[in-house]
């Protein structure tokens, strides 16, 4: 998946209408909360990326979410 596609998918998963960029601070996304994290865990699970809730604890920016997906993102 390309980075742009993944950014769109992230916005849809988090339920935000914000245009996400790699530098967007997660704190600035109103909808980035515990429900968003559940939805993200489900998204990573579908991509066969192993994550745990603790992986989300210290993330700062959208780029961290991309990094978590690892090699699945081109």
């Amino acid at each position: 998946m390309t980075k742009d596609n993944f950014l769109e998918l992230l916005a849809e998963t988090i339920d935000t209408e914000m245009e996400l960029e790699e530098t967007t601070l997660l704190d600035e996304i109103d909808e980035y909360d515990s429900i968003a994290v559940l939805s993200l865990m489900s998204l990573y699970d579908e991509l066969n990326v192993k994550v745990s809730p603790r992986d989300f604890e210290n993330l700062k920016v959208v780029a961290d979410l991309i990094e978590l997906a690892g090699e699945k993102i081109e």
Binding site: D15, E31, S34, L38, M41
Partner: protein
Amino acid sequence: MAKLHFDNIDIKAVVTTVGDKRVTIEEEAHNFGYDEKMIKRLKKRMGFNSRYVVSGDTCTSDLCVQSAEKIFEKFDKSRVEALLFVSQTPDYKAPSTAIIMQDRLGLSKDTIAYDINLGCSGFINGLLNAYSLINSGLESVLLCVGDVASRFSYYQDKNLTPLMGDGGSAILIEKGKGSGDFVLHSDGSGYRHLIIPDGGCRNPFSEESLKPKEFEDGIRRGIDMYMNGGEIFNFTLKVVPNMFDELFEFSKTPKDNIDYFVLHQANRYILQNIAKKLELTEDRLPMSTMTIYGNQNSASIAGTINGFLSDKFSQNSIKALFAGFGIGLSWGACLVDIDKIYAPEIQIYKRGE
């Protein structure tokens, strides 16, 4: 993995009674600090809508007694030789509620009666106990399962409370022609993720236990249930699909030969994820119980049969997969071959009866 196979056992009846008070997420959103946008999101993502809870001091046993009495309108209660009560909300800390129910239901004093403390996986473990007793020679076992979760979830706990509904089911299991295959697991390393911390011997009840405390994910007291939603969701994604594979293999039954997948109704979102992995649709894997009634803990599988599959289970012989997963952590599944059963639609609790 514990694996068990049984022959010559049938489920004869399933009846579920739910709390008499229906509350919608809109009505109680102010308790959780949810605005309209958040309500919309919770409805869409998690399937929140309404839940049926008890009013006043109704206990799980009251719901189960109403369910059992409905069964005894059709079946002879003098045949019952054991009564099992699976719940986390007993009448008293001691003695076992099942024993009190033996008397309330007018069952013989020759009845075996004991409680089993389990939640989400309680239906499977309860059914396993019932099948084991029949396999050991008993003719008829009454299994009662359920919880009044509204009585251990704090009204301002936005994380847990809007999920929970109250239900008590009775299931009659007898010698017959059917079969059952079970797989079960436990992992106590995750016990902290779903827990009522106070009131046992580890943290005895104290004045402190009654003080509401504010956490990031809601307000609750020591005597209330705490849930780490992320950990539980993650656990479910990891273990449930594997457990299905184990059961397909152990029972030598391919997925396509199974009529219905009746799962613990944790929430719609978890079930959608499981259904997607199994490539199943809602007509074979119902997932709306929590949306209408709330998560009924150990009664949610029976509650789904009565709530959504009443006609199907009443009219046909069925091959059904049941699966429960959650508090403990504990998870289990079984595949049963059963003839048509008595499975009326959901009953609403009648207070004072």
